[in-house]
């Protein structure tokens, strides 16, 4: 079995982990965003509360939760391993810094954008995940059954703890830059390069790097400014 560990700990194997976990996390973003849009359904949050209840109780989701945490863990762990190796590959830095205009600043600073997204993620988990499971959340009755009022929690955090909103917006902005480089980069790492498809992949990357953060940003902005 040593060929598997050889393959996965080689430089290209580490990049493989990075790209597969990255693409998996992108798929999570789609699921998360589409579910969250239930916040905008005009039913006083009933659909969103039922969705939150399902997401926190259904067995399949709890299993996927573990897979998701593992995905984040492996993405972050591999990033640290690669960053340390890459830093060791150049022990002496250049005195003069020349930059090529064809190389974007964010492509060279994925570690920085990723770290800021991680800080945002931890705040986000405390704001909602932690409180949903550990705080006394007001209850709401839907079709004769009692549910935790997640809708109320979301609305009150973005309205009353408004200082989190700039952190959310900054986190989302950097997530956009992270995706802009990361999405297309993941395909190149997988060796999926093709004259016809690579430009399309690149365009999809650009598109989701704008649309995903924008979609998420509507939520704090709506509850902060319009509700």
């Amino acid at each position: 079995m040593s060929w598997i560990s050889d393959a996965l700990t080689s430089s290209i194997g580490r990049k493989l982990s990075m790209s597969l976990t990255g693409l998996f996390l992108v798929s999570f973003l789609f699921v998360h965003l589409s579910g969250n849009f239930l916040l905008f359904k005009a039913d006083n949050g009933d659909a969103f509360n039922l969705y939150s209840h399902f997401m926190s109780t259904a067995g399949i989701i709890r299993v996927l939760e573990i897979v998701l945490v593992a995905g984040f863990g492996l993405h972050i762990y591999t990033a640290i391993v690669l960053t340390r190796k890459n830093a060791a590959a150049r022990p002496v830095e250049y005195v003069a810094n020349g930059s090529n205009k064809k190389v974007t600043w964010f492509s060279k600073n994925m570690g920085l954008s990723g770290s800021i997204v991680l800080v945002f993620l931890l705040l986000h988990l405390q704001n909602f995940y932690w409180r949903y499971h550990n705080w006394d959340i007001p209850m709401v009755e839907i079709d004769g059954k009692e549910y935790k009022d997640m809708y109320f929690l979301v609305a009150s955090v973005f309205k009353n703890e408004w200082w989190v909103n700039p952190v959310y917006l900054l986190g989302l902005l950097l997530l956009g830059f992270h995706l802009q480089h990361g999405f297309a980069s993941a395909f190149n790492t997988l060796g999926l390069e093709h004259k016809k498809y690579s430009p399309i992949i690149s365009r999809i990357g650009n598109l989701i790097s704008v649309l995903i953060p924008l979609g998420f940003a509507t939520m704090p902005l709506y509850f902060w400014l319009f509700n």
Partner: protein, 251 residues
């Protein structure tokens, strides 16, 4: 012809063990038609006349085909143009400029003296698998090899890599993946390269890792600085070759 006065800041290091430092030199009366290396020749003649040690730098063909010349000029490998240092001319600079000249920086390319680095890591990667063991005979006639024109062109483009190491010097991770990608791809696309295809991919990548080069983060800096314009597609092909070899090879 214009005459230029320049301030040069050059990395000086007596030998591999010595601690180096940037030293400042003033140079006057430089002809703007001179190549960058000729400008350094003028500096060295001055230094020799003064009884000082001339600046050591790599150079050979001086016509842009051998890959011997190096130098990171103002933070960019081979300077501001996407070419080799020997093909860079002083008209790319202005009178009164300060120019920083440094060696390639990578753990796998240790400085031997001044601006000369040891690039034998590239040779060892080539020795690990960058060859074909079959007898290929003399140069074949046109269209004799059963491959399409497009494949032939792409294999040729990969083969134009001169192994100068600018990709490593430009990469923020000092990664050699553009070089290894080019050297793998040129064989992977041709019939002669098929026999050793999987073994080659595994062996060259293993040697690359052993030499201490970093890993690619797809910034594209290597390709943007490559004097032979080797494309990032070569890195994708290397990834594909390596992963296929690892997961489908029977050895």
């Amino acid at each position: 012809m214009k005459s230029m006065n320049l301030t040069l800041k050059i990395w000086r290091q007596a030998n591999a063990q010595a601690k180096g430092e940037m030293k400042t030199y003033s140079l006057s009366g430089i002809n703007d038609h001179m190549s960058f290396l000729e400008m350094l020749d003028v500096l060295n003649e001055d230094l020799v006349k003064k009884g000082e040690e001339p600046v050591a730098f790599d150079h050979d063909c001086r016509e842009g085909i051998c890959g011997a010349c190096s130098l990171v000029i103002n933070g960019r490998p081979h300077g501001p143009l996407q070419t080799t240092t020997c093909q860079l001319h002083m008209r790319s600079f202005k009178d009164g400029d300060t120019i920083y000249i440094e060696p390639w920086r990578a753990k796998a390319f240790p400085v031997m003296k001044d601006l000369i680095v040891d690039r034998s890591a590239f040779d060892r990667i080539q020795q690990a698998g960058g060859y074909v063991s079959v007898n290929t005979g003399s140069a074949p006639d046109a269209n004799e090899i059963p491959i399409g024109k497009q494949i032939a062109d792409e294999a040729f483009n990969s083969a134009t890599c001169i192994g100068c190491g600018a990709c490593v010097a430009a990469c923020k991770n000092a990664s050699a993946m553009l070089f290894v990608g080019a050297k793998l791809s040129q064989y992977a696309m041709l019939p002669q390269g098929q026999v050793e295809r999987k073994r080659r991919a595994e062996a060259m990548v293993a040697q690359m890792d052993k030499e201490g080069f970093g890993a690619c983060t797809n910034t594209g800096a290597c390709s943007a600085e490559c004097p032979k314009e080797i494309s990032m597609a070569n890195i994708a092909m290397m990834n594909r070759e390596f992963l296929t070899a690892k997961f489908t090879g029977e050895a």
